[in-house]
Subunit: 640 residues, 2 copies
């Protein structure tokens, strides 16, 4: 086997790989995180790098222009090393490492009436043990059991004891001069009446604090809440991009990545690495050891939960779309390499199915819609749109594949909602000139999801674009022009941007966005029809998720993403997934009710529903084929 | 920090170590196993090596003669490297790697009436599962639960599922086309009525075999029985020296080693390494994968069990001599790095206390003495002598520190019972010439325990030595002479031996042996007196352990190690520890009865008994101060 040396510029990082290795794998080996939104399928063109000198072979050059290829651009995920090679990595292709702006730190107070002794499965007990003597040389563990029984009335005969804590007992008891704090888990959801489990024994009295964490594993961002289990309050929060992003931006790309070689264990390590990083930050900021964290509740979509636990996710994307389990059993932190107490319980919340995961059960539970008589519609819009309709008596859910357009992918100048992204656009009715707002007030580099929705709405209302999404090249503005991919509208001129190019939107982009918004609208239309409900009777429209937080309801209605209803019925809930995880962490009844809710939530498989396609086609227009369903938009168009 | 190169001859192995490193640590780093019976305390003198050239510093040279020191001998465990150094390792100081001769492979048939469905905690179930469809896309685990319930009547709602098996389910079900074998553990001793635990799911029908292993972790030898759990028979056995031997020959040396640096985890890895090696041999010979082994029952003394589980053993040797636990909870194979199925239960049998461990509970159980009305005395003689007296109504135990003399340590020319060891000696009454038998018929290199007992008895009966253990230098034989350590008797001349020296026994050796035999005799004397029993009423004397197998009863009575009783009362049981582990492995009732037996066995702490010292002093004579208790020996002496 011939070994080749690949040198990555500008830093000159060298790595030796066997001939035939993909440049992307060589980069990974060299510790470089290349941006691969499509997960290395050669479809997005985002991993383009420049082969400066040496031997290589292109397997595919999809999305590369002839000019780019002449300049030496190759797709890292589609090009194999054939000899020593020098590769130059353009700066914009490296993953940005910035805190997701959508996550803001806020204090969350415990629910009224929180009682840790009743609500919490993690309990700490201080014990004062008789030291052994020649006359009473019972072993350490038996003494501990005896003290738990005598001093706290706990039947510890069947106590489950893991090896890790067994190894500490002798030290802990002697170090604390036979005074110690025992950490037990009692009455878990899996076995509420089962024997207690011994998690830790620490010297002295450590009952003054007790720590747990709630975690939301988003496909894009991971959030951790540090929770004081004694008071029930969130004392700090931290968030970061999911470390898996460089291996694919959406769940499908991640599933494909997981199915190749060691992809699954790599993705498992990456997300645990991200969470461990956040745990480390929280522990340091709050003066505790991660070892003092005895419980974790985890929410996320089914693919994220599978990857987190290291479960193979392949069957999620293959008909008939089944998971290994929708109700993962509790696991130990040591089994998934989390940096908290090794014997801490890691409780992944239950989901409904492959595309309605724990994030939605958690979200519905934390929204409270499952307790109301009034009918609610719950929406979580991202790459997939998950929709739940129902009340305290029934709940029905579905998932529609919106595609990554709202996440900034699948749109030429699309990008994630980070610094440099255009997040809102206004078009002057007279001049058809665009003005915009950019996240962090930087020169713009692209347009994020909320910016795209705003742009679509403005183009439609001002007549730049017709209801079919066609740009009107007959209008008198240099911003409308024929581009490489057909007609396009210039949002920002090269002189204003951080890149040397204009930022534009073209017909291809518009079609992708229309498909996405149509999928969401068709989703809740089919859902409502399937249970014989008229959408206008829905009392609350609950919009969850980071994307929802920045959505402008007017814009969203104008393009027909959301139904045209009285504006006061719309509520923006933020990250409901982590709120559900937090509820489950601090209250065993809440945990039970999420399980019960996930069990009773019906799942409608849209791909098996024969009305979905028609609804989708009808929703491809602006705002909709049936414009009568959008009276406020009709009114607005009439005014113009 | 200066780095020095140490070269080990004769193989020229080089290793770089910081200045100040012990030669023994350098040897360990170089992958050489030096013999360190005392665990590196500088007491036994067995790790002597020759410093050929270079700089070093002796911290101690105990047990080295001035001549040896002049020849360059240093104690590896007491000499630090001060510069580049060439060290020559004499061949006899390397650990011999031979199968313990005491372990013979034999087939063991299952007990009559063995019924795996009733007696066994490991159960395999074949399930034929409906494949998922769009109309029924329940997850894999729920389908598995449903099949267990419908096809085998198992309530699997609370099924405990570890991450490791969860990761396999999707693959196993699809690979076997939705036909699979489920391995469950049900009704363990800790929680007999608890929910079942899912250990494995394998494609297709794998119910035709089911494997378990019984393990005895001796301080010297480790034995593994491979057991067919369906028939209950032992199908193969394997044994090897405990890999910890090079880190100390007796439990005290091992405890001291464990308390230094990473000693504990090193000892844990060493013994698990030995067991994994044996498991690999058994799997290969019998055409199975070690992954197919779903259960392990382990016996051994309390120190060995602590080291195996990685529990700190320090408190075992410090007053008041307590363990972390005498009844270890079941652990998972993955928690102790055993090469069997990672979720297999590893069940360490219960012991009574620090010096009466699981090997004794297991031994007493497998001897059957706990079920008899007749009074029995159970003896396991090794470095420690463990003694149990009792019947079906009561059991009392004690442990006496015999020291390592019977294991060949603490005696100048002592050695373990391996090839080259003198195992029996005869002295001619007239000429006082010695003849002997050597294990494996090689030229002798030393004397093992049974040989020493035989030698003591012969010397006493022939008058070479008096009842106080003093050699009679006045006799007319060149074999009796004044040596470096006082009077000595030559057992084998240099010309006959494998070494250039005579093999001798001297006063120091004899005193060590007398102390050892006196400790054992005093032990059961005190034990019997403590419960008001006359030793002569004991109906059976059960001698367990590898050493017992080679003990000559006549010799042992002649020196007063065993009481002078009708010979037919003595039974040699062999390795009762592994038999107890085997019983526990195949029968849940046997497991429960061992736990019950360990609970009800009283432990008498000899160091807290004020009559022990007097009994010990009385027993220091040959055969005993009270010779009237040894009528057959009196008779023999009268004859001579």
């Amino acid at each position: 086997m011939t070994t080749c040396t690949v040198t990555f510029e500008p830093h000159g990082t060298e790595v030796d790989v066997p001939r035939g290795t993909l440049i992307s794998d060589a980069a990974s080996k060299a510790g470089l995180d290349l941006n691969m939104p499509c997960g290395g399928q050669g479809r997005c063109g985002r991993c383009a790098v420049i082969a400066e000198a040496g031997d290589f072979e292109r397997r595919s050059s999809a999305r590369l222009s002839p000019e780019a290829m002449e300049e030496g651009y190759v797709l890292a995920c589609q090009t194999v090393v054939e000899g020593d090679l020098i590769v130059s990595v353009p700066p914009q292709e490296k993953i940005e490492r910035r805190l997701p702006t959508a996550q803001r730190t806020k204090k969350i107070e415990a629910p009224l009436g929180y009682d840790p002794s009743r609500d919490q499965t993690i309990q700490k007990y201080f014990v004062d043990i008789d030291p052994p003597s020649l006359k009473d040389n019972t072993d350490d563990l038996a003494r501990l059991r005896r003290a738990l029984q005598a001093q706290h009335g706990i039947d510890a005969r069947k106590l489950h004891v893991g090896v890790h804590v067994l190894r500490k007992i002798a030290f802990a008891l002697r170090e604390g001069d036979w005074k110690a704090t025992v950490v037990l888990e009692t009455g878990t959801w899996l076995d509420p009446d089962g024997p207690p489990r011994l998690i830790d024994v620490v010297p002295g009295d450590a009952t003054v604090s007790s720590w747990g964490v709630a975690v939301d594993i988003g496909t894009t961002s991971n959030v951790v809440y540090l929770v004081d289990l004694l008071s029930g309050s969130v004392v700090d929060t931290a968030s970061d991009y999911n470390g898996q992003i460089a291996r694919g931006e959406d769940v499908i790309s991640r599933i494909i990545y997981a199915s190749k070689g060691d992809g699954l264990s790599e993705l498992q390590s990456l997300v645990v690495g991200t969470i461990n990083g956040l745990l480390g930050q929280l522990a340091e900021r709050n003066g505790l050891s991660t070892n003092d964290i005895y419980k974790m509740a985890v929410s996320g979509n089914s693919t994220m939960i599978h990857l987190f636990l290291g479960l193979p996710p392949e069957s999620i994307r293959l008909e008939p779309y089944v998971t290994t389990t929708n109700q993962p059993p509790p696991v130990l932190a040591q089994d998934v390499n989390l940096d908290i107490n090794p014997l801490a319980t890691v409780d992944c919340l239950p989901g409904v199915g492959s595309y309605v995961g724990a994030d939605i059960s958690a979200g519905v539970a934390s929204s409270g819609m499952c307790n109301l008589k009034e009918l609610s519609l719950f929406l979580d819009i991202g790459t997939n749109g998950e929709i739940v309709l129902g009340d305290c008596d029934w709940l029905i859910s579905c998932a529609c594949s919106a595609g990554p357009a709202f996440e900034g992918s699948g749109v030429g100048d699309g990008m994630r909602a980070t610094a440099g992204a255009i997040e809102e656009v206004w078009i002057d009715e007279q001049t058809l000139e665009a003005s915009y707002r950019v996240i962090a007030d930087e020169a713009p580099r692209g347009i994020c999801g909320s910016g795209l929705i705003s742009l679509l709405a403005e183009m439609f209302i001002t007549g730049v674009m017709d209801k079919g999404g066609n740009l009107n090249l007959g209008l008198d503005t240099s911003r409308l022009r024929e581009g490489d991919h057909g007609p396009e509208y210039v949002v920002a001129w090269a002189g204003e941007t951080a890149t040397p190019q204009d930022i534009v939107i073209n017909k291809v982009d518009i079609d992708n966005l229309l498909r996405a918004k149509a999928a969401v609208y068709a989703g809740f239309s089919v859902l409502a029809r399937s249970v014989g409900v008229d959408l206008s009777t829905v009392g609350r429209i609950l919009i969850a998720g980071a994307f929802g937080q920045y959505l402008d309801v007017e814009n969203a209605i104008q393009i027909g993403l959301l139904p045209d209803m009285p504006r006061e019925r719309f509520k923006f809930l933020g990250n409901t997934s982590i709120l559900g995880a937090y509820m489950a962490l601090i209250n065993r009844e809440s945990r039970d009710s999420i399980a019960e809710l996930a069990q009773r939530m019906t799942y409608l498989e849209l791909s098996a529903d024969n009305t979905f396609h028609d609804e989708w086609i009808s929703a491809m227009f602006l705002p909709h084929t049936h414009i009568e369903d959008f009276p406020s938009v009709m009114e607005l168009l009439k005014e113009k």
